[in-house]
């Protein structure tokens, strides 16, 4: 990323605030466990005890320290969302470039597969996948990768087809340059900008998908601390101590909204305002 793009991205105060918020949430999720006063699964008092000096957010439905669980609960959503989104690009970008340059039977098959994935509502697809394999984090990551890949694949394929019509690509072929050289030197640099512009939209989508699965009890299994799960497992106590639900809900909301605002600003600075 060049410095001018960075300056443009952070030109608006909203984007700068968003960057700070993203950094705070990332720090909270990664470093939080080291600062937690209690273990995430340690029973420290009566269930739904009120906020005290020892327990900043009270205790949860089993009498565990809510603040400690809050500090532990962000790790999974951060790791799952980030790794699934990055993996989707690693899978889809090469396939898109290959499909766009070579076409052929593989292209037809890949387009057909992406059509079928498009026809399934994302949440439903993940639920069916988890129903048949049993809930596990690797399956969730694979599922999110499968959901993002066709969308990235389509964009990369279209851009590649567009670029390969350019004279400098034809010239490279005429000079007898290898396919690998053309892919890396001529196609990839042109694909990279529009693809990174959409990265934030997909990261935000991954955050929402994983957090929702966790809320439904299909993420990290109990007794682990996970922001989505914390809200649903304490729902019977929400009228007694609403902060148990508000704290993780706020963290997820700030995380995904800030990622959205920041990447929207980035997309604008590289000349793309909307997702294809």
């Amino acid at each position: 990323m060049s410095t001018s793009v960075l300056r443009l991205t952070l030109a608006k105060p909203a984007a700068r605030i968003a960057l700070v918020l993203v950094l705070i949430i990332v720090a909270l999720a990664t470093l939080g466990p080291y600062f937690s006063p209690y273990a995430f699964d340690e029973i420290v008092g009566a269930p739904f005890a009120p906020i005290t000096q020892e327990h900043w957010l009270g205790t949860d439905f089993l009498g565990r320290d809510t603040f400690s669980r809050f500090l532990y609960g962000g790790r999974t959503v951060l790791v799952v969302a980030l790794s699934a989104t990055v993996a989707a690009y690693i899978v889809a970008v090469p396939l898109g470039i290959y499909s766009g340059l070579r076409r052929g039977p593989l292209d037809v098959v890949l387009i057909a597969i992406s059509d079928v994935i498009y026809a399934l509502p994302p949440a439903i697809f993940l639920l069916v996948l988890l129903a048949s394999t049993g809930p596990s984090l690797p399956t969730v990551i694979v599922g999110i990768v499968i959901l993002h890949s066709p969308r990235i694949f389509r964009i990369v394929r279209l851009i590649t087809m567009d670029i390969s019509k350019n004279e400098y690509v034809e010239a490279a072929f005429a000079r007898g340059e290898s396919w690998t050289a053309i892919c890396f030197l001529d196609i990839l640099p042109n694909v990279l900008t529009p693809v990174t512009a959409d990265f934030g939209v997909r990261l935000c989508g991954s955050i929402i998908l994983y957090a929702s699965l966790s809320y439904l009890g299909l993420g990290l299994p109990p007794p682990a601390a996970d922001w989505g799960l914390m809200i649903s497992e304490n729902r019977i106590g929400i009228t007694i101590s609403p902060w148990i639900a508000i704290a993780p809900a706020l963290a997820i909301a700030v995380f995904s909204v800030a990622v959205n605002v920041l990447t929207d600003s980035f997309a604008r600075s590289v000349g793309r305002s909307k997702e294809i």
Partner: protein, 322 residues
């Protein structure tokens, strides 16, 4: 109706059926071949192998997959989705009454979504960069990135915990008429609106801005036609067609969004039934609800494509020449 338009529409309809068939095969195959045996899952890991075998026979899971697929799809077309694995009751008996609740929830949300997003989007466009625009646009940037359960939880904390206006859960009683329990639908409908309204409002605003700066609107204004008439007769109709696709996308999102929303409010619908079935690994129920929701999703996309084709004046002109 003219010929090319009819042909286009028929192609879209055939494609929708092909997609639905492909999806049903994929979903069915996924539940057959992926690791994890539903019969074993239903009985538990320590179950007696002969009991697992007997359950497999009882539910016809010992037959070849192709036979199972066709007998399943044949039943599904006549409303017979087989029996639920843990309870042994017919799937439709359990999800039929719930489907009504889900219908009420989604249709109400959609009926509010469309007029609201046009009003808010056009108002934001007229007052671009002024207070009214900011009051509409800023919340949409926030809600567009929020999961349903966060919006639902915030609404519960606000309206059920602090204000005590509405109940925190929507436990609908089957034996009472739905009309007497309409207050139970308020928070779930608001949740679904919260997640879908943002995108449609943003789209309407963008399209309306374009229309408002178009030359023909300028000409209409020069003719001295009142601003209200310009809005209703010239701006509004021109924002509809480009927005249909976004509305359809969000309507389709509603079809999936009910899963989390119904779970948040414990509203007995097919969405919450699906997440329960996934946790219990009740495959016949998972298959049935997935098929219903996917069919709705494909149907919504089909209707939106048909509407875009029918509302496109360029196609009408082309047919006039033929």
């Amino acid at each position: 109706m003219n010929k090319p338009l009819l042909q286009l529409l028929l192609t879209r309809i055939v494609l929708a059926f092909v997609t639905l068939f492909a999806v049903s095969v994929v979903v069915f195959t996924a539940t057959q071949y992926l690791p994890g045996d539903p019969a074993r899952a239903a009985l538990g890991a320590k179950a007696d192998p002969s009991a697992v075998e007997a359950l497999r026979r009882e539910f016809g899971m010992d037959r070849p997959a192709v036979v199972q697929y066709f007998s399943w799809i044949e039943g599904a077309l006549t409303g017979d989705f087989g029996r639920s694995i843990p309870s042994g009751r017919p799937v439709w008996e359990a999800i039929g009454p719930r489907a009504v609740n889900t219908m009420v929830l989604t249709v109400t949300s959609l009926l509010l979504l469309i007029p609201l997003s046009f009003v808010l989007g056009i108002v934001a466009a007229i007052y671009k960069d002024r207070l009214a625009d900011h009051l509409i646009s800023v919340p949409t940037i926030v809600t567009v990135a929020l999961p349903e359960f966060v919006i639902g939880t915030v609404l519960i904390v606000l309206f059920a915990v602090y204000l005590r206006w509405l109940p925190p859960v929507s436990l609908i009683n089957d034996s009472l008429p739905l009309s007497s329990q309409s207050s139970l639908f308020i928070l779930p409908v608001l949740t679904l609106l919260g997640t879908t309204l943002a995108q449609v409002v943003r789209m309407v605003r963008a399209v309306a801005l374009e229309v408002l700066s178009a030359e023909y609107i300028y000409m209409v204004r020069l003719r001295g036609i009142s601003p209200a008439r310009v809005l209703i007769w010239h701006v509004l109709p021109n924002t509809i067609t480009p927005t249909i696709q976004t509305i359809a996308l969000n309507a389709a999102w509603l079809a999936g969004g009910v899963v989390v929303t119904e779970s948040v409010f414990q509203l007995p619908g097919i969405g919450s039934a699906l997440s329960d079935a996934v946790i219990n690994r009740d495959m016949p129920t998972v298959l049935a609800i997935t098929l219903i929701i996917t069919a709705t999703y494909v149907l919504i996309n089909l209707v939106s494509e048909a509407l875009i084709l029918l509302l496109n004046p360029r196609l009408r002109v082309a047919s006039g020449k033929n």
